[in-house]
């Protein structure tokens, strides 16, 4: 637990900062538009409609869509104005959260202004107020409670949705939730949820106090509210200070996909780099798998581990017979260097292949040992796969080669997939061959008898900036070649998934056991 609490100031600080910034910007945008709508009713359908449409986009998708959008905009500004905009991180998260917060504030501003007693408006005109004076002295004060209710709704939405900004590379309390779900550390999930709920309530309370104070003209309330905001902001500052005691920016940013093996490897690489070169390394865990390669190519992260078969199919877009392990690795190495400026500096020494797995007992009952045999039984079976597997080229290649036609297929979180197979809720799953749960849950990996699935060597990828600026770091990483075999990886994965250990602990243990 202590390792989790140690991360709390950083995560909560970043979460709060992101949320407050989004809320302030959303209010600054939505309130004036809300006022404009009531002055020019013809604008109303277009503006409220647009805000409503944004709201219907699922929040996770809205956040993820910001990344390619930012990449395009960033490319444009870099070319024409020399301004670099990062496609991952707080930028896209902030914009998505602002868009998300606009609707409730806009709607409530309009509703609040339209709900002002017409007699008060008539009186305001009759006593000689100009339209502006009427707005500021009469209409806005009377609409304030409804407007503020909208801001409070937006605050709660934004703080909650900010937990989803982890996969686009923004640090938030979602880091606890995403990594906790993947590594089955439910204490982390709980901590993330409780902390974000507490933040939401604190912000809501502070806004409510401010409103009451202004409305009832009670200075005490206004001061209390400002004190609450100030202590929240001070909390951010303190968190900042505790995170970066040395004040030096990290030199190497290490990305990780959102599963256990990737968390462990990111921590292994960070420790290995710091120990060997003294360069400060930072990990950026739980990034979306498609986000990672682009982030590496754009120089937003410097290092991450990918798998040769994945790169061969998704990035190189090869299909057909993959060939030998060495041939695929070689193809990937040469193509990435030539076309993307990305170096493959080490093959770690194990494969983590996509594999189809079943409960051993069920496989025996059905006499299924190979994928060809599985194809015969498939029409009676249900397959469960991680989010991306069913849309990956490997799956299409499998279907083409074996003619799979399952009774039903469903996507689920990879951390729940193995349990679902063990409990018999699905018959077949898309397993990762290094996952410790294959053995733990008595699952059986079915043999790819036609050799369709490409080899999946775990490889360390390095972006061009790091290769240019820190050859010493690259040389150190190259020493990881062949350092981790499949059994070691499986054991480390199991230590996290089965024994509930923290990935950082497991990584430290490996580093301690492998002195230079």
């Amino acid at each position: 637990m202590n390792d989790l609490f140690a991360l709390l100031p950083e995560y909560a600080g970043a979460h709060l900062e992101l949320s407050l910034a989004a809320l302030a910007i959303a209010t600054a945008i939505a309130a004036p538009f809300g006022i404009a709508v009531t002055r020019r009713p013809r604008l109303a359908p277009a503006l409220l409609g647009a805000a409503g449409v944004i709201q219907t986009v699922p929040s996770l998708a809205l956040l993820a869509l910001m990344v390619p959008l930012f990449a395009v905009v960033g490319g444009f500004t870099a070319r024409h104005f020399g301004i670099e905009i990062r496609a991952i991180g707080a930028g896209p998260a902030l914009v998505a959260l602002v868009l998300y917060g606009v609707l409730p504030i806009l709607q409530n501003t309009v509703a609040g202004l339209r709900g002002v007693d017409p007699a008060a408006c008539e009186a305001a005109r009759a006593v000689g107020m100009t339209p502006n004076q009427s707005l500021w002295r009469v209409e806005l004060p009377l609409a304030l409670p409804v407007l503020v209710a909208g801001v409070r709704t937006a605050a709660v939405w934004i703080v909650g949705t900010a937990t989803l900004s982890t996969p686009v590379g923004a640090t938030s309390l979602g880091n606890f939730i995403f990594s906790g779900l993947q590594t089955r550390r439910f204490a982390a999930v709980w901590l993330g949820c409780i902390a974000s709920a507490a933040l939401a309530l604190a912000i809501d309370r502070a806004i409510r106090l401010l409103e009451q104070g202004l409305q009832q003209r009670r200075r005490g309330f206004v001061w209390a509210s400002l004190a609450l905001f100030a202590s929240l902001v001070a909390g951010v500052a303190l968190a900042r200070a505790s995170v970066a005691p040395s004040g030096t920016a990290p030199v190497v940013t290490i990305g990780a996909k959102s599963f256990t093996e990737q968390y462990v490897l990111a921590d292994v690489m960070a420790g290995f780099i710091e120990r060997g070169t003294g360069a400060r390394a930072k990990t950026l865990p739980s990034l979306g798998s498609t986000v990672l390669f682009d982030a590496l190519r754009n120089g937003e992260i410097d290092v991450y581990v990918d798998y040769s078969g994945t790169l061969w199919a998704s990035v190189l877009q090869r299909s057909g017979a993959p060939g030998s392990r060495a041939a695929v690795l070689d193809d990937v190495r040469r193509t990435l260097a030539a076309e993307h400026g990305v170096s493959v500096v080490a093959a770690l020494g194990f494969e983590n292949t996509y594999a189809l797995a079943m409960r051993a007992k069920r496989a025996a009952e059905l006499h299924v040992e190979t994928l060809s045999q599985l194809a015969g039984a498939a029409p009676a079976l249900e397959i469960g796969a991680d989010y991306e597997f069913l849309s990956r080229p490997e799956w299409r290649a499998l279907v083409d080669a074996y003619g799979f036609a399952f009774r039903k297929s469903r996507s689920m979180d990879p951390s729940l997939m193995y349990q679902a197979a063990a409990a018999g809720e699905v018959d077949v799953i898309s397993a990762f061959s290094t996952d410790g749960r294959i053995a733990a849950f008595d699952l059986r990996v079915l043999r790819d008898d036609r050799g369709v699935i490409p080899p999946y060597d775990a490889v360390v990828l390095v972006g061009s900036r790091l290769a240019r600026e820190r050859p010493d770091v690259v040389a150190q990483l190259a020493r990881l070649a062949g350092a981790i075999d499949a059994a070691t990886m499986q054991r480390m994965n199991a230590a996290v998934d089965q024994q509930g250990r923290a990935p950082a602990d497991v990584a430290r243990e490996w580093l301690d056991a492998h002195p230079d």
Partner: protein, 259 residues
């Protein structure tokens, strides 16, 4: 004090004519009542004087000055306005409500404070007790007293009143009518007053203008209207209070007769 002059003023809404080439003169210091049924154009006429409604045609002068010769907000600061819904600002105290127009005119705080107390006393609200109250803490009658104080606050040249006592209970209405009449006489302020209550019109008006479908039917003192009604409908209208009285009288006599 300034006179109000309307010259061939018209207002239409689409095809409907609300006010039809109406000409009217309210003498300085006079209270002129506009009466008529719903849709007779009396409220539209009143609101065109302070340009809450802009006329389509015709001219209106106050004290010889065209109301369109200056921006509407400036004009309205020189005109007191009191209406049935009262329209006190609920987020402001009684004193702040009264102070609104003087503040817009840039009076000094000292002058405003003195004026607030003077006006509250005028409308018979104890300043010490009522100054800092919220409008919601007052009765309907007290609210309209504050409404009247607000209308008079900036020493207006003219006063426009749109059924100001229409929503009050009969007893409160009578007390306020009397109080208003004595204030008006004391200040000698030119007043245009809209009502559909003929009893109120006869009791308060120096002269009464009867409107029907946006046009003037008859203009005269209460006595003239009672003596020589111009049309059947005017006769019926001015007779309303008397009919009421007779009905009450008959009821009283019936009640007094031994069973």
């Amino acid at each position: 004090m300034a006179a109000i002059e309307l010259d061939a003023v018209s207002k239409r809404y689409g095809d409907a004519v609300a006010v039809d080439r109406l000409s009217l003169r309210v003498e300085a210091g006079e209270l002129l009542v506009l009466v008529g049924g719903s849709g007779s154009g009396k409220t539209t006429t009143l609101k065109m004087v302070n340009r809450l409604i802009e006329p389509d045609a015709g001219t209106i002068h106050i004290g010889g000055r065209d109301v369109c010769s200056e921006p509407a907000p400036q004009l309205r600061r020189r005109i007191g306005y009191c209406f049935q819904q009262i329209g006190l600002f609920p987020h402001l105290s009684v004193a702040e409500n009264v102070a609104v127009t003087p503040q817009l005119l840039g009076w000094t705080p000292t002058r405003i404070r003195a004026r607030i107390d003077e006006l509250l006393a005028l409308v018979e609200l104890d300043p010490a007790k009522h100054r800092d109250r919220a409008p919601s803490e007052l009765s309907g009658g007290q609210q309209q007293r504050v409404g009247l104080a607000r209308a008079l606050a900036a020493e207006p040249e003219v006063l426009l009143m749109d059924e100001p006592f229409g929503a009050l209970d009969p007893q409160t209405r009578e007390t306020l009518q009397e109080r208003f009449q004595s204030i008006r006489r004391a200040l000698n302020v030119t007043t245009l007053f809209v009502t559909h209550d003929m009893g109120e019109a006869l009791a308060l008006g120096d002269r009464i203008a009867v409107l029907d479908r946006g046009a003037l039917v008859q203009l005269g003192t209460p006595a003239e209207l009672l003596r020589n009604p111009a049309t059947e409908s005017v006769a019926h209208l001015v007779a309303t209070p008397r009919r009421h009285a007779e009905r009450v009288d008959a009821l009283l006599r019936a009640a007094e007769r031994p069973a």
